[in-house]
Every structure is written in structure tokens, then in C-alpha cells.
Amino acid sequence: MNIKRVLIYSILGFAALIYLLPLVVMVITSLKDLDEIRSGTLLSMPQALNFDSWDKAWGSACTGVSCEGLKGYFWNSVLIVVPAVIISTVIGALNGYVLTKWKFRGSTLFFGMLLIGTMIPFQVVLLPMARMLGFLGLAGTTSGLIMVHIIYGLAFTTLFFRNYYISIPSELVNAARIDGAGFWMIFHRIILPLSIPIIVVSVIWQFTQIWNDFLFGVVYSSGDSQPITVALNNLVNTSTGVKEYNVDMAAAIIAALPTLFVYIVAGKYFVKGLTAGAVKG
């Protein structure tokens, strides 16, 4: 190994260290008690493995007026994410199928219209959407938030499936049509079995986006219906006497665990979604 290789490896290793440090600091801090935090530094090790702050973050820390920890909000996020991911992925798959295998006049224009939906800053729809949710009686509810996430996720899921299905040979579909197979039969028998990879990409993308969302959550939810990101922010900013950094860090890790888990288990698909969702076409 020559000097150049050593240099490259040390640079890469150093960079990896920098990227890892915040996570390490979070974990270490969450395991210390407040005295250790005050007397030590970011990187000083905890005396013992102390999960008290995890207990508190999960079950009894104050997030604004209520002091019941993150657990309720964690389940709120689950309740929002599961239906929103499933519904937006199913509709996205059907849209992608039509836009590639059953093109009609105006279908390209329709796709272009949707594409723009992936690019607008959501701030321009925040105020009208608030009014609409009020009008529908969904203001401050979990259902309202699910609806918002489905609507603004559709452009992305449609984009994923459309770009994936476009590489499935149309001859396959045409042959089946000649044999008398209809719209649903072809989707079910030909398209769907080929779709597993892109379904995984779409599910992971939507899951991460919706779990990590803060903007819609903070604007459209209130009190008991808040998602975990909003609760985490409230928890960190609730000052009841002493600032408990260890509880803050435990709470942040709890909020991050689901998406981190998905990333570690299915990182390959995560990266694919990131590049496909971001780089259009």
C-alpha cells in the first residue's frame, strides 16, 4: 500500500468519523444523567448504561402542556404513515400503468402537470389547504393529515411508477390485449409481478417523507393528533425548569429510529428512490 492509498483511506475514514459523530454524541448523551452531562464533555463516556432518559422521553416527558412522552405521537405517526403510504403507492402504480401502457390524448400533458407538483414549494398551498380542511371538517385531525400526505405524495409515486413501467416492453401488453386480456387482468398478471422493486422504492420514499414531515404536521394538526416530529420539537422547546439534554437526545433517537431502520435494512432501495424522486425522468 503506497502513501497515496494511505492518504485516501485516512481522508475517507476521517470523513466517516465526522458523519458518525453526531449520532454517537446523541447516543452517549441519552445514556448519561444530568450531572454527568454538566461535568463532562460531548464525548465523555457515561458511567453506566442508564436508560432513564429513554423511559422519560417515551412515557413522561412534557411536550407542551401534556406530559405523557412521545409514545402517543409515535403511534399517531404510524397511523398517519401506514394508510398514506399504501394509498398513495396504489394510486401511483395505477397512474403509472395508464400513463405508459394505456396512453390517451393528453396523457403526456397530464404527466407534465403532475411533475410540476413535485417541484412547487408547499408553502404556496398551505393556506388554501388549511381552509379546505376546515371546510371538510378535517382540521386538526389525523384523517386530514393523511389526506394531505396522499395528495402531495401522488405526484412522486406516479413519477416512480411511470418511469419504471416505461421500460417494460409494450409488446408484452399488446400481445396480452390481442389474447383478450383486459385492463385489470394485464395489470394483475403482467405488470404487478414485475413491480416489486419499484413498489419497495415507492413505499420507502413515501414512508421516509411522511414520517419525517414537519411542515404539514405543524400546520394541520393540533394537540392529540400531532405527529412525532412536531412532538419532538415541542419536547425540546418545553422548558420546565432544568433543561434535560439527555431526554432531548433520547427523544430525537426515538423519532429517528423507524427511518434509520428502513435505511439500514433497505438502503439500496432508499438511494434509488432518492435519486429517482429527485432527478426527474
Binding site: Y19, V25, F104, L127, M132
Partner: protein, 298 residues
């Protein structure tokens, strides 16, 4: 006999349209309709409650006369430029280093990219603690013997915006690395071999052949990063809360504050329209050049 087959056939033709119809309706109402409604609000006299009247450019005049808006715009500029440039440079160099047939490449890549899986709220919370002026990095370095070391950017009006850059770069540079790495893997090996035969050194090959070949990758990364920058809201809320004072306000937090906590709906919608303009100013040239390239191919 025609009577019975004709409707069925047209139903068959209609079916695909029926399937995409809900999405179409949703897009028309919730994307385009809402954008128009929002535009209208920005020309109305709305304050606490939305009012659909016509007040001309009053809200925009108020916006441009608002010091806080200009602080927000300037912050977005500072944050945007630094965030984008540093992410691009770091991403490129890490990708080049990773592309040297590195052992454990997969593991290293995983480490560089994991922040992208986190919510900006989590990132902001973590960095708020790390940058804590008393117990954070400052304490760590002082304990190492540098007793006069000061690092109080988080609470320093002039420097706080740079903490947002640090946290933002930490979160997003791995993503640029992934894009660049994919681009590097797509470079034709034969060209590199030919250049080597001609006696070109590796740095020269990178400078003259490989990096220019990554132009489309930079372009996409640039668009995505710009987009992230203009929309950045959660990171600032979690890291600085827009403070100290409103020193780290950006248009997204400005819009939120005025629309939802200060009862200035008209002003908030005008601010959001400015954000939309900024995105359009970036996206349109991008789409235009994309389309032109596609046309040139055929």
C-alpha cells in the same frame, strides 16, 4: 348488435381515463387551484381571516417594506449559496475518493448517507446540542487544553445562520456523493484508458475528462439542493427557531410565522408567492435545457 357492443367498447376505452381521473381532479384542485387561490390571497387585504377581495399590490408593498423579510431573503441567499457549493464540493471529492477501488466501500457509503434518512427536526435537535455554546463543542475543545476557545455561533446574531449551513451540509452532502458516485461509475472506461495511453496523469484526466462528464449530475444535484434550500423550514425551526431574535429567519419560516401565528395571511401568501417565483426561476431554465437536449438527441 351494435347497440350492445358499442357502449362496452367505449367503457373499455374510458377505463384508463377513469383510473387516472381522481388524480387529475386532485392535481387541478389541490395543486393548481390552490396556487391560484394563494395568488389571489396575496392580492387581497386578508389579515386574521382569508378575504377574497382585491387590494392590488398592498401585501407585496408591505412585504418589501418589511426589514424582517429582507433578513429572511438575505439569509436564504447566504445559506443557499454556502449549502449548495459545499455540498457539491464535498460530494464530488468523497465520490472521487470512494471510486478508487476502496475496501469496505459499501459500509463507508452507508455512513455518509445515513443523515439523509433523518428528519430535519432530528438533525436540528442533535446539532443544537452539539453546538450548545456552554456544554457542546466549546467545552470539548476547552477541556483539550485550549481554554480560550470560543464557539458560540448558535447564539451569535451574526454567525447563527452558518450553524444552519453546517447542519444542512452534514445532512445532505452524502446524497450528492451518491449522485456523483453513480455518475463516475457511468464514465466510459475506454476513454480513460485511451487518455492514460496518451500519457495523461490521473489528476489531469479527472480535470479534463471525468469531471466535465459529470455536468448533468451536477446540474441535477444543483436543482435538488436549491429546492431543499428554498424549502428549508424544519431545520431552522429545530436548530435556531429563527433566532436569536429573527437573525436566522428564512422565507419559509417568515411565511409560517406571519400566516399562522401573527394573523397576517395576506403577507404570508405574498411571501409564499415569492418562494414560488424563486423555484420557477431555477426550474424553468432547467426544464428548458433538458428539453433542448432531448430535441438535439433526435
Amino acid at each position: 348488435m351494435n347497440k350492445s357492443s358499442a357502449p362496452r367498447q367505449s367503457l373499455g376505452e374510458l377505463l384508463p381515463k377513469l383510473v387516472v381521473a381522481p388524480t387529475f381532479v386532485v392535481a387541478v384542485i389541490f395543486i393548481y387551484g390552490f396556487m391560484l387561490m394563494n395568488a389571489w390571497l396575496s392580492f387581497s387585504s386578508s389579515r386574521m381571516l382569508p378575504k377574497y377581495d382585491w387590494a392590488g399590490f398592498i401585501q407585496y408593498e408591505k412585504l418589501f417594506a418589511n426589514d424582517r423579510w429582507w433578513v429572511a431573503a438575505e439569509n436564504l441567499f447566504i445559506f443557499g449559496v454556502l449549502f449548495i457549493v459545499i455540498c457539491l464540493l464535498l460530494g464530488l471529492f468523497m465520490a472521487i475518493f470512494l471510486d478508487q477501488k476502496i475496501r469496505a466501500e459499501g459500509a463507508i457509503r452507508t455512513i455518509y448517507l445515513y443523515p439523509m434518512a433523518l428528519s430535519f427536526i432530528v438533525t436540528g435537535t442533535a446539532w443544537k446540542w452539539i453546538l450548545n455554546p456552554e456544554l457542546g463543542i466549546q467545552r470539548l475543545i476547552r477541556e483539550m487544553g485550549f481554554e480560550s476557545f470560543t464557539f458560540d455561533w448558535l447564539v451569535n446574531t451574526d454567525m447563527a445562520i452558518y450553524t444552519v449551513v453546517i447542519a444542512g451540509v452534514w445532512q445532505s452532502s452524502g446524497f450528492v456523493m451518491a449522485l456523483c458516485l453513480a455518475g463516475l461509475r457511468g464514465v466510459d472506461d475506454n476513454i480513460i484508458k485511451a487518455a492514460k495511453v496518451d500519457g495523461a496523469s490521473m489528476p489531469l484526466i479527472y480535470r479534463k475528462i471525468i469531471i466535465p462528464g459529470l455536468r448533468p449530475v451536477f446540474f441535477s444535484a444543483f436543482i435538488i439542493l436549491t429546492h431543499i434550500a428554498i424549502k428549508s423550514f424544519d431545520l431552522i425551526i429545530a436548530l435556531t427557531g429563527g433566532g436569536p431574535g429573527f437573525a436566522t429567519d428564512v422565507p419559509a419560516t417568515f411565511m409560517y410565522t406571519f400566516s399562522f401565528t401573527r394573523g397576517q395571511i395576506g403577507l404570508g401568501s405574498a411571501a409564499s408567492m415569492m418562494m414560488l417565483m424563486a423555484v420557477i426561476a431555477i426550474i424553468v431554465p432547467y426544464l428548458y435545457s433538458e428539453l433542448r437536449e432531448k430535441n438535439n438527441e433526435h
